[in-house]
Symmetry: C2
Subunit: 297 residues, 2 copies
């Protein structure tokens, strides 16, 4: 399929970086979005302008406690596991992430929760499915940085997501402070596509989920985006949610504080934007990283 489809967002093909324009709307059916909930006009405007919107205290303290308990259980089970869903910290054995948690139990219910799913439907203009889910642990004292990236760039090149029509939710399960490695986002960066340098090797994801080496934006492009938009570090209590567009440039610093920054990350994609063959020409990544099966039509 790759050969017959125009690649609107080429990346990792040229020997120098390039910033091009976004070619997709941010609100995919703006009229319908404005008539729907759960996001109000102010929230839609922030999402449209910045590429993200913080949803404060979306889950109650009781809900947070139940999710934290589930997370502790999952971590205990994951620690000795060699399943492909379990990704470890670079240079260590500590669990960094557990993927594809939305398939069952509390995380499945969370992924079906209208506070998230209907907000995704609202901005993506129609029916959605979970493209990726994971728990990120970001432990205290030794939590490592995630370097800057656009999720879409990776999903396009490595997973074959054709268009910018996906949205992510980071459900905070710990209080996020400025000092425990919170998510940093570049407001307005979702309007630009940073094509990266370097060709991706096959099965690169086994390393890249631990430490990114390809699909890394260049310093000049990052500097330009940050000069134009600044850097936002939304903080918030556990139970708050950060909703961000698939192409918003983001990253996070290390966490030497004693306080973990655990979160559940859920990505919804439009059913009209299902994955093709990866645009980078590599083998598709496993189902636990990028959903291909059972997509509702």
């Amino acid at each position: 399929m790759q050969s017959t489809e125009v690649d609107l967002y080429p990346s990792r093909v040229a020997d120098r970086a390039q910033i091009t324009c976004r070619r997709d709307p941010v609100l995919h059916d703006e009229m319908a979005a404005r008539a729907m909930g759960p996001l109000d006009g102010r929230q839609l405007a922030a999402y449209l302008r910045d590429g993200f919107v913080p949803l404060e205290d979306l889950f109650s303290a009781d809900e947070v406690r139940a999710l934290q308990a589930q997370l502790d259980d999952d971590l205990r089970r994951a620690a000795p596991s060699s399943a492909p869903e379990v990704v470890r910290e670079p240079g260590g054995e500590a669990v960094r992430s557990i993927f594809a948690v939305h398939r069952a139990g509390a995380w499945k219910r969370l992924a079906e929760d209208p506070r998230l799913r209907d907000a995704a439907r609202q901005v993506l203009g129609g029916e959605v499915y979970v493209h990726q889910s994971r728990i990120n642990f970001k432990p205290g004292f030794e939590g490592k940085a995630f370097y800057w990236h656009s999720d879409f760039e990776t999903w396009h090149v490595e997973d074959g997501m054709p268009r910018m029509r996906a949205v992510s939710f980071s459900v905070l399960l710990d209080d996020n402070h400025t000092y425990n490695g919170p998510l940093m986002l570049v407001p307005g960066s979702h309007e630009h596509y940073v094509a990266c340098v370097g060709k991706t090797p096959d099965d690169h994801y086994q390393q890249s989920l631990r430490r990114q080496e390809y699909g890394v934006p260049d310093p000049a492009s990052l500097t330009r985006l940050c000069r134009e938009g600044g850097i936002a570090t939304p903080t918030g209590r556990a139970g708050s949610v950060l909703m961000f567009e698939c192409n918003t440039m983001h990253g996070s610093g290390s966490n030497i504080s004693p306080y973990a920054r655990r979160n559940v990350f859920l990505v919804y994609n439009s059913v009209d934007n299902a994955l093709r063959q990866p645009f980078g020409g590599t083998r598709p990544r496993p189902e636990c990283i990028a959903t291909r099966e059972g997509i509702p039509r």
Copy 2:
């Protein structure tokens, strides 16, 4: 000398960590301090309570520009240098720090500036000298974390500083934001001494200035200090100064932002607190790391 002197602050000798009380005053001559300048009563109270005090906009924009130009010159000269004063980033060749910059030129004048030196005299109760100085570069995109530490613990064990009677100034030469790896300090931690685990090998400093392995506080002690005092991340414009007591627990996260966080770090010690043999029993570190010569009496 080591054998005849009681060690008030033993560390790296037991096989488990311990928190003991500070045995020295924070203001070494409180009556005189309150009658002197340049710090006013509010600033002295903050320093006494928290172990640090931010001095906003202490240097003018013109002064900052001149110091930045000097710093750029120094970096150019340091890059190819194999002098012991030049320390590189862990796992790389980028210059992390240049030591002993107070010996000449603009940094010598800075070290003699009454805005710093008189503030040191005021809290240390008498005449002072520069125990250590350095430029820290903390570059954008790739600036690495400095893990939590009390400077005094290192200076006591590895340099033979007998008492807590020294004070540090970090002169900011870039704007410090929450997102470019600013200094994090634990308010009130200067009142506690965290004895660390593990014996220090000789000539350990060549590695430790790049990445700390000994003199590292344990997670339980850090958690207790942070629970009691919180974590402060003072931000400020270039030209602002952070003044902090030698035993205040501090560290900084990584810096993936495009913005460097360069600063000049000057430490004054009381002339009555001159270095002995290192209390850890190792060879003294070089003169460029810890001043032993030419101390006024």
